[in-house]
């Protein structure tokens, strides 16, 4: 993994805007995440295969994947931590220790970067 590596983020259907882009909540850790946003290491897995793993093996909901680079995380002063314990491609973006405002601002910046890049897989039609 280097600064140009894409980190694939799965998008829950509730985080879709009406215009088809993900909203900022897709880039904020949830309570169970304890400040650590889960992604896939794009050097180890494609966006499409990450979606298949997330929905097919982990049995979680995703309409597709969008991606940010490691560099874009660093620009927001967000550390990127490989975490192969659940599966080899697992990577964490570290939001720990930030205020609500800081989390919103940094998540917004990641969303802007990801949406400028476009979907790296999907979005797939929902049943």
């Amino acid at each position: 993994m280097n600064e140009t590596t894409l980190l694939h983020r799965q998008i829950h259907p509730s985080w879709l805007r009406y215009d088809g882009d993900p909203n900022t909540q897709a880039f904020k850790p949830t309570r169970k995440d304890n400040g650590l946003l889960s992604c896939y290491d794009g050097d180890l897995i494609t966006a499409g295969d990450s979606w298949k793993h997330y929905t097919g093996q982990l049995m979680l909901s995703s309409v597709g994947a969008v991606s940010v680079t490691v560099s874009e995380c660093f620009e927001q002063e967000l550390p990127v931590i490989p975490d192969p314990s659940p599966f080899p491609e697992h990577v964490l973006i570290d939001f720990r220790g930030l205020t609500r405002r800081e989390i919103e601002q940094k998540a917004d910046a990641l969303k802007k970067a990801a949406t400028a890049r476009g979907w790296t897989f999907g979005p797939v039609a929902q049943p």
Binding site: D19, L60, S61, R100
Partner: protein, 144 residues
Amino acid sequence: MLRTCHSQAGASQWEAENPGVPHPLDVAARLDELRAMQDGWLDGDGIAPPHDGLDWLAGTFSRCYSGTVPLPRIYPTEEGGVRMEWDHNANVIILEIDLSARAGDWLWFDRNSDSYQERRLDLDDIANWQWMASEIGDKISERQ
């Protein structure tokens, strides 16, 4: 009556292009959609917004939200609340509403500077809706 779109022209165009589908900024329709949510909606986590809270918000929004400023996008929150977002150019406004407390956490920030503003708002107080209308009008001046 609750307004259903930022403008009549916008509503008409949407209806023509998407017959039978509520406009995405139709606040009443969006809040109604949230009634269908169940606990666990976020892959096992996620609290469903309480129906009495949604009733309160729909009624309060209808009575108190200014007719002269853009409507928000609406999303559920993991905690069983409602999130309203306004986004225009560099300006982002987020209001996360606690339906039980009938209060909202307001955040505005400018993407191009360090400027921001945070407030806790009692949403049963119409003065706070008037204040929000003024802020939204200043910062989100054009249609989203």
